[in-house]
Symmetry: C2
Subunit: 574 residues, 2 copies
């Protein structure tokens, strides 16, 4: 256990891990200044219990040679990442007792960034749109990381207090209000958590102990220490973090950022230990809890059950589905899209989830991936857009800024009629034209310069023209706030199309089946993808025409076919 | 494929992987000088086929900017690690057609170092003792690495030509003669192979291509590239190497050095790919082939079947059994022995193979290991001594130089009556008193100084006294050559004890059962280990008394007991 916990009777227990420190003092800063020497236990944790501590108390820890440091397990940073930590009251009047969580098969995910979702830039702004999302058919919102980050403008992946909820979003209480309200609307909440790195600013971890190891090199510097000497505290910290969200915050699932960058070659992979603990929590609460990995490895081991030698996560993201769809629709073959292009990769992903299942990747310069044998379709999350695939374009332009209207509708249909779990990115359902760009509000000048430089470098292998927007500029952030201008004819039609497709997905029996033998995939021509989905007493034939012209297709299955949907019909403004 | 292969009709095909090179020329040096430009294929391999090439032809490869380099896949280095490579005739008159190989359960392994096994320092010297080993009951010899290393004195872990057999040992032909002769004696041959690093001298690999990656840090510098861009050639090279030994050389099994240092976080671990190919070879040849890992990870994933999510290796070494036994017998608690001591760790290893199955290790500073659920005892190789555990002591002193005679007999009994696979180190069976020290014959001066320094540093955490022997001195090597002085009374008794125990192990029905439920382990007192081994209609009670005095033990099992063996009896010179 790490952090500051209010116990009954006004006692507060403070604990912090600093195994190599010779001394550690709790320094209370508000409401009254006071110092309390801490005592080290055998595992390198320092503890002290203090009477008469109220929520709102601000504190730091002072090691033998100073200076005072914020708490790595801080629950609140009301003065930002460099300021004191704050003791938090975890009590909340929950009204979601009957909520049970969702199964993977029920998910229609809506990814959102709290800061740019609404003009209030906070959780309250999300709460106000829950009714709209419910009416659209969304069953889960996925919130980009909320752990305290530097300033008020950040995607969230620069967070440095994994236990603290970003103050500018509404803090601990604001997030609980959102989760409670979502559950009232029948909407699950998935939280994006970052366990593979910590942000560059406000990162005091190395001053406490061996949080990092140089066994492995990562894009963000030395790797977090998940398997080297002293790793137990690091593993325990992140497991405690996951359980906090799922238990105290009633969060229904975690989307774990870049799990391939959690370097752990020990006998029990961190994610396997995590899933074990989450299964225990789920059993204790009798509520469904989901673990979804972002994973740049076509390795089903992560999502296989532990009893089959897997790590026991529930699902993983499939960027390859996106890349296959995007390069087919746009013809883009730059950068990592060079591994895709044409209809075949999309057909492969429809059939096998992974596009690369062992064949040579010209981008990775190696044979890549294995077959996801035994893993059902609903263990894979797909998307036509997401924060990365939009925001990591130089101008952050959305798919609907790049594609004609008919192609936008086609993309929506491919996404929502897929047997995989579909995920939308906020605004795509009404054809938002504002970009989603990379933005920060760091205070360290060198870092600001480095980030700007890094963005330019990142786009070097793409042949994009124009200026890279300045991540640090407030204007960049403001440009990305959703307009919610939903009154255009095409925008309205698009929203209705999403609504129809989600409803069709949820209600048509053949669409419920997500085992691998319930789906057949054909490519009758270079531009036509045909997918048969079969239920017990139901069959659906899906035809996706990627040419600009109508095509004829003779289906030789049994029985007669009834046309249920045509994205080019007049009703969809076609 | 890489290397030089003689094809029918006197043609020789030369292939070498050098993906970033602009030019590559085959330079034939003997019998006549000649140059042949090579052609690059899509995967970065350069090829040329040349007429009228005989075995014995010497060659190098010359890249665009020189200088000439030996072949990384050289089959022979008659002038040492810096000299030209030699084309080899792979034909051999095998007479072991009826040999089928052995199952794990049949193994009684004898580890030997070819250079110090006999006064001829070569394979012939081993052949001459095969009859003796057979009469002792040994069923497999395990040969320390034979890949060409610098000079003529080396343990073998500094090898830099994994496909070449050390010339001073007898080369390709000498090894084949040994394997053939061993099979005539009913003895299997296990070869120690090093796939986790390459030696420091004569290592021209980086001049050819991306053999190494800086994703991972190893004790020997950058890691071999098993999962980064361009890794397919590296993986393929080592798989080709394994198949060469098992197929062309009729080797029965590979002992793979430090498999934990084969860094591969991709979807299919290198060892899983290797085991897949070895299973295919085994099926094609209809001969048993074994893969045994040295593994400093208590991770049964490596030895679980691939269909259970494992990597499919057959067995792994258990250093912990050794450490538990050694620290119990000698009271040594220095260095890594600090994690052991007392009877409990040995009892744990007898019961669970691994000593650490998740509990905290004070040496590793973390919770370590998981239970080897589902893995039988015969998947674990144990030893009371081996090259490392002797040779990595400062003076290379053997257990019998450290223990009284009665304790030596006890160690032998613990080893040979264990349900695990037992492995002896050459000479232990007659109480050899010569040491087994670390020796080298490098030619690079800086390296020589570095190795000497490194040895001293390695012993810093142990409280040993005296001078570290000079690894580079020929005298050090000579001191380690087995004396074969077997005429002492205790030496003779020891040999007979080993012979008796091996025979008992092989013939007594209860000793054949190696599933986990056939063994029960008790510790009735702090110095008494009691082990029940049960067969279908047979039971054996093993009592190991680690005190200096007789102890009484009341066994409450059914039936009456008949004493079969007492290591302190007069017949064993007790």
């Amino acid at each position: 256990f790490a952090g500051a916990a209010l116990l009954p009777g006004g006692i507060c227990k403070f604990s912090v891990w600093a195994p190599f420190r010779k001394q550690m003092v709790l320094s209370v800063l508000q409401p009254q200044q006071a110092s309390y020497p801490m005592v080290r236990d055998d595992h390198g944790y320092w503890h002290v219990e203090v009477d008469n501590i109220q929520a709102g108390t601000r504190y730091k820890y002072i090691p033998e040679d100073g200076p005072p440091l914020p708490d790595p397990a801080s629950r609140s940073q009301p003065e930002g990442v460099h300021g004191p930590s704050e003791v938090v009251d975890t009590h909340f009047n929950w009204t979601d007792d009957t909520w049970q969580g969702l199964d993977l098969q029920e998910l229609v995910i809506y990814e959102l960034h709290t800061g740019t979702f609404s003009s209030s830039h906070d959780f309250q702004g999300v709460i106000e749109r829950l009714e709209y999302l419910r009416s659209l058919g969304i069953t889960a919102i996925e919130i980009m990381p909320v752990a305290q980050f530097p300033g008020s403008r950040n995607w969230g992946y620069d967070g440095v207090y994994p236990f603290a909820v970003q103050d500018s979003y509404g803090g601990v209480k604001g997030l609980k209000q959102l989760v409670n309200a979502a559950h009232q609307h029948g909407i699950a909440v998935i939280l994006d958590v970052v366990y593979n790195h910590l942000g560059p600013e406000g990162n005091y971890f190395s001053q406490y102990g061996p949080w990092f190891t140089d066994k492995y090199k990562t894009p963000w510097g030395p790797a977090l220490n998940f398997d080297d000497a002293w790793c137990d505290a690091v593993r325990g910290y992140y497991i405690q973090n996951a359980l906090m969200w799922l238990d105290e915050f009633h969060i229904d699932g975690l989307r774990m950022d870049a799990v391939h960058a959690i370097w752990d070659c020990s006998a029990k992979h961190f994610t396997a230990e995590l899933s074990e603990k989450v299964y225990e929590l789920q059993a204790a609460l009798n509520k469904k809890k989901l673990l979804i990995a972002e994973l740049d490895l076509n390795s089903p081991r992560y999502i296989a059950p532990r009893q089959e030698g897997g790590y026991g996560l529930h699902a993983q993201w499939i960027d390859e589905f996106h890349h296959a769809l995007r390069s087919l629709l746009t013809g883009d073959l730059n950068g990592y899209y060079a591994d895709f292009g044409g209809l075949a990769p999309l057909a492969k992903s429809f059939r096998d989830s992974y596009v690369y299942t062992g064949q040579y990747s010209s981008v990775r310069k190696r044979n890549f991936g294995v077959y996801p044998t035994g893993r059902d379709y609903h263990q894979f999350v797909v998307f036509a857009q997401n924060h990365d695939q939009i925001g990591n374009r130089m101008l952050g332009d959305r798919l609907n800024s790049l594609l004609p209207f008919e192609a936008q509708k086609l993309a929506a249909a491919v996404l929502l009629l897929s047997p995989h779990i579909p995920m939308l990115f906020m605004g795509e359902e009404y054809g938002e034209t504002r970009p989603f760009q990379f933005f920060t509000s760091h205070s360290d000048k060198d870092l600001i310069a480095g980030v700007t430089e890094g963005r330019k470098k990142e786009f070097a292998s793409f042949a994009w023209e124009g200026e890279v927007p300045d991540p640090q500029s407030e204007e960049t952030f403001n440009n990305c706030v959703l307009s919610w201008e939903t009154k255009s004819v095409t925008g309205t039609a698009l929203t209705e199309l999403y609504r129809f497709l989600i409803a069709f997905r949820k209600t048509r029996q053949a669409m419920q089946h997500t085992s691998r033998n319930s789906v057949k995939v054909y490519t009758p021509s270079t531009h036509l993808l045909a997918v048969e989905r079969a239920g017990k007493d139901d069959k659906v034939l899906l035809l996706f025409n990627f040419s600009e012209h109508p095509v004829q297709y003779m289906h030789d299955g049994e029985g007669s076919l009834e046309k249920k949907f045509d994205s080019a019909a007049a009703v969809w403004n076609g």
